[in-house]
Amino acid sequence: MGQSSPPALPRVLIVEDDPILMIALVEFVENSGCEPVEASTIVEAIQILETRTDIRTVFTDLDMRGSTAGMELALLIRDRWPPIELLMISSRPWDEAQIPSRGVVLGKPFDRRKIEATLRRFAA
């Protein structure tokens, strides 16, 4: 977590419990000109959100232990921190109606173009 560079890049909280996937997600965020903030559990993610105010976007995997955890987090964020943008990735089919407003869900495997385009849009 870098706190050194003075020109503040848009910060993206990445929530991912798989370390290998985390590497890819971090790369997407960095390629999008954002600064990744990593959380490997929901609890950690919530703690970060409660303690920091600079998170503009949450980028979360919906496929985490406890199958519905990712979606619950997304709903919680929309509820408690409405301005935060939500990008979700999932290996399962999703129900559009369940997705929090302004949220975007993209499938696995990754479509780098769409992911990075979305992150840039949220950061803008």
Binding site: D18, E27, R92, G107, F110, R112
Partner: protein, 844 residues
């Protein structure tokens, strides 16, 4: 008066025959016939004649006057005065001389006349001396005798003219008397004839009436005939019918003088009756003693002298002979014989009629018996019409015992009642169809239910006379029920195969079962706990019945759990009498349950659910119906198991897809971080996107459990990754393609689109790609796929041929390497071919 003495002919020999001269006229046959015609001889004295002889004697002043009729050998006095004998022989006759006289014959002195001088009455007592006789002349001029006056004194002067005139007039009066008498006699004889004819007719009519009611009773018929014939023909002293028996005739029902001889057997050759039977002709016999056909020794025994006999026929055969007899010679006339023939004819007719009647009756009994024994129901109905003549109903005229059995009704109670009355709620078709039969006269065949009886009948209805019709039918409830159940099972099989959720299946099964069994409710419920409660899913109900969907506790409805816990069906025919529910049937009745079946659906031997069938009325659940329900439950069990397995398979498929995609993401991630230090990012991204394209194909395949994919779906899925779909025009049949073909097509299109995006049509804003595919028939049907770009920059063949993408494209569809690439100035034109068999999947 002396005139009342009757003298019998030939009994008085006062006057010995003297063969003196007899005038020839005496024996003139015409004269004698005329005399006989008056039928006067030897009849009693009559006042009319007596008066005339008295007047004649008085007028002529003589003591004796006679009406003397000259017979062939005597003279007989019909009336006389002063002369006691009623006749004399012709020797003593003076009157015989009058026969030749035209007028009065006077003999003044009999002693002096040579014709009479020797007359015994002149020479002896009573010494007559004077005679005057006026001829008794018929209207034909034949003299039959004289009216004479006699004196014992000679009278030379004879009668005065006045006396002669008186004598003539008196003689004419005698003739008038005779004529009158004869007329009266003839009239009386006619009356006798008429009486006889009347009696004969009466007897014949009575006999016919009697024959009409004996009805085939032969002895009775013969007795009536014999007695009737004897009444009609009074001359008969005895009568009999002799029945033919082989070569003999046997006496049946003898009457009168023959009465003692019942059973007498005579040879056909021994009797008049035998002759009659043999010749079949009526016979009249005047004297048995001279008849060649009669055994003499029998005549006395049978008191037989004369007889008449006629044959009695039955059809064409001689049955016997009707005979009447008398002990007198020639007692019968031809008229009697003809009359007897009428009696024989009546007998023949009666026998024929009673035989026909007996045959009819035996036929009627036969048919009636058949009708009664028939296992088919048979009935005769008569339609009922309203005032406009429209048929509105029909009533029972006749039904057979099987009718009662087949309908479960007492036959006697139906007769004369309307069908609507006998079977309340009977279907309209039972009236309209039979009405049509009566109206059109065309027979119909029917298979129809009487729902209130819960029975199906198959039969035929046909018109009888007038407004009547008949039907003959069978109860086909079992057969129809079996058909319905079989069809229901087929229908259920189809339904279960096509339905994909257990809820749909149970609902479909409930409806089929409810309708098939004619129940009022059918449903499916999942058993909770140890058969404590049940969750009833949305059920099927007949109109007017409430749904019982929802949770129910078994104990609230009686003692129902025991069989169900053992996995056994529970069938209750009547909730008010079944020991398990009779104590308090109100709870069941409140939800419209009069009878019920709970058929468990088992899973691994345990009842996990059950099929529920209710009927608002008590009913007997047949073994067939329970078997059907068992079958339904088993099929449902199998169907549910299949759906469960498919659902599970679906879950597994999704989980597998999820893991595959996650793994591909991890592969992407590893590759990306492994190649972190590669400065050229393009190959890395190309790799990522190829993985992505592969994944898209898998996505499409997963929809059909990796067995097949829709070709268009595969294309859209992979192309959408690259550009908006409006840049592409897809044109071709939507084939089901194999997983291999789907993966191959995905990667091929991915590379083509990638190139088009980089260098081809899609690199320009207005460029488009048309993708068309078709199948070509032939020895080996082929799929032909055309990729044609337009609207992009002018293209040239790529300089390097070694890239992975180029290789993929040259591999073509499913590795056939049949790829024709033409770099037209307007854009790339590519054609790929592959055997259809390698691409397509036969989906069943």
């Amino acid at each position: 008066m002396t005139g009342f003495v009757v003298c019998a002919k030939g009994t008085n020999n006062l006057y010995p025959m003297v063969s003196s001269s007899v005038p020839p006229l005496v024996l003139d046959p015409q004269r004698l016939a005329a005399l006989d015609g008056f039928d006067i001889l030897d009849t009693p004295a009559e006042e009319g004649f007596d008066d005339l002889v008295n007047l004649a004697a008085l007028a002529c002043g003589v003591p004796v006057a006679l009406v003397s009729l000259v017979d062939r050998d005597r003279q007989w006095f019909k009336a006389r005065v002063g002369f006691p004998p009623c006749e004399t022989d012709l020797n003593s006759s003076v009157c015989k001389f009058v026969l030749a006289e035209p007028d009065i014959l006077q003999v003044p002195d009999l002693l002096a006349d040579p014709r009479t001088a020797a007359n015994p009455l002149v020479t002896g007592e009573p010494f007559i001396r004077f005679y005057a006789g006026a001829p008794l002349r018929t209207q034909d001029g034949i003299t039959i005798g004289s009216l004479c006056v006699i004196d014992q004194q000679p009278r030379p002067e004879g009668l005065t003219p006045a006396q002669q005139d008186a004598l003539r007039r008196a003689a004419r009066q005698v003739m008038t008397q005779l004529d009158m008498r004869r007329a009266i006699q003839q009239r009386d004889a006619l009356r006798v004839d008429e009486t006889g004819a009347f009696r004969a007719r009466e007897a014949l009519r009575d006999t016919q009436a009697a024959l009409a009611i004996v009805d085939g009773d032969l002895p009775a018929a013969l007795r009536h005939v014999v007695t009737g014939a004897m009444r009609a023909i009074p001359a008969a002293e005895g009568g009999v019918v002799e029945l033919l028996d082989g070569a003999q005739l046997v006496y049946h029902t003898p009457a009168g003088t023959l009465a003692p001889h019942a059973g007498l057997r005579l040879s056909l050759t021994d009797s008049l009756a035998g002759h009659c039977a043999t010749t079949r002709t009526p016979q009249r016999m005047d004297d048995a003693l001279t008849n060649p056909h009669v055994r003499r020794d029998l005549c006395d025994q049978l008191k037989l002298r004369s007889a008449i006999a006629v044959p009695v026929l039955r059809g064409d055969t001689v049955l016997g002979v009707l005979k009447l007899q008398s002990s007198q010679v020639a007692a019968f006339t031809d008229a009697d014989l003809a009359l007897l023939g009428l009696f024989a004819g009546a007998t023949t007719a009666s026998l024929a009629e009673s035989e026909a009647r007996a045959q009819t009756r035996s036929q009627a009994i036969y048919w009636r018996g058949l009708f009664d024994r028939l296992s088919e129901g048979f009935m005769i109905g008569e339609v009922v019409r309203d005032t406009a003549g429209q048929i509105t109903d029909w009533q029972f005229v006749e039904v057979n015992p099987a009718w009662g059995t087949l309908l479960g009704l007492e036959p006697a109670t139906a007769i004369g009642r309307s069908v609507r009355d006998v079977i309340p709620g009977v279907e309209e078709e039972w009236i309209s169809e039979f009405a049509q039969v009566v109206e059109t006269g065309e027979a119909i065949t029917f298979v129809r239910e009487v729902q209130t009886l819960r029975r199906w009948y198959e039969g035929r209805a046909f018109k009888l006379d007038g407004d009547r019709f008949g039907t003959i039918f069978l109860d086909v409830t079992q057969r129809v029920g079996a058909e319905l159940r079989r069809n229901a099972l087929l229908q259920l099989g189809d339904g279960l195969r096509d339905l994909t959720t257990t809820a749909d299946m149970t609902r479909a099964a409930a409806e089929i079962v409810g309708r098939t069994l004619g129940a009022t409710r059918a449903g499916f419920g999942r058993i909770i706990g140890d058969v404590e409660e049940i969750d009833v899913e949305p059920d099927w109900t007949a109109p007017g019945q409430v749904s019982i969907a929802g949770r129910h506790r078994f104990d609230a409805y009686g003692d129902l759990r025991t069989p169900l816990r053992q996995g056994e069906p529970l069938a209750i025919n009547d909730v008010t009498t079944d020991p398990r529910t009779a104590a308090d049937p109100a709870a069941l009745q409140a939800i419209g349950v009069g009878a019920l079946v709970n058929m468990p659906v088992r899973e691994r031997g345990r009842a996990v659910a059950m099929f529920i069938v209710h009927d608002v009325h008590p009913r007997v659940w047949t073994a067939e119906e329970l078997g059907f329900l068992r079958n339904v439950a088993d099929r449902l069990e199998a169907g549910v198991a299949r759906v469960r397995a498919e659902e599970l398979q679906g879950v597994l498929n999704h989980e597998l897809a999820h893991r595959l995609k996650n793994t591909l993401a991890i592969v992407q991630s590893i590759a990306s971080s492994t190649l972190r230090n590669v400065t050229e990012r393009e190959p890395v991204e190309a790799f990522e996107r190829r993985v992505l394209a592969l994944s898209r194909a898998h996505d499409v395949l997963m929809h059909k459990s990796w067995t097949a994919a829709k070709m268009r779906h595969v294309m859209e899925s992979v192309l959408a990754m690259q550009a908006d779909m409006d840049r592409f025009a897809l044109d071709g049949p939507d084939l089901d393609i194999s997983p291999q073909a789907a993966l191959s097509l995905s990667l091929l299109l991915h590379e083509l689109a990638t190139n088009a995006l980089k260098y081809g049509a899609l690199s320009a804003r207005t460029g488009k790609v048309r993708i068309a595919w078709r199948t070509e028939e032939g020895k080996a049907p082929t799929l032909v796929l055309d990729w044609s770009e337009s609207g992009g920059p002018a293209v040239t063949p790529p300089s390097n041929r070694g890239g992975f993408g180029s290789k993929l494209i040259r591999m073509g569809l499913v590795g056939t390497r049949v790829a024709d690439l033409r770099y037209d100035p307007v854009g790339l034109q590519a054609e790929f071919r592959a055997p259809l068999a390698d691409v397509q999947v036969q989906v069943h």
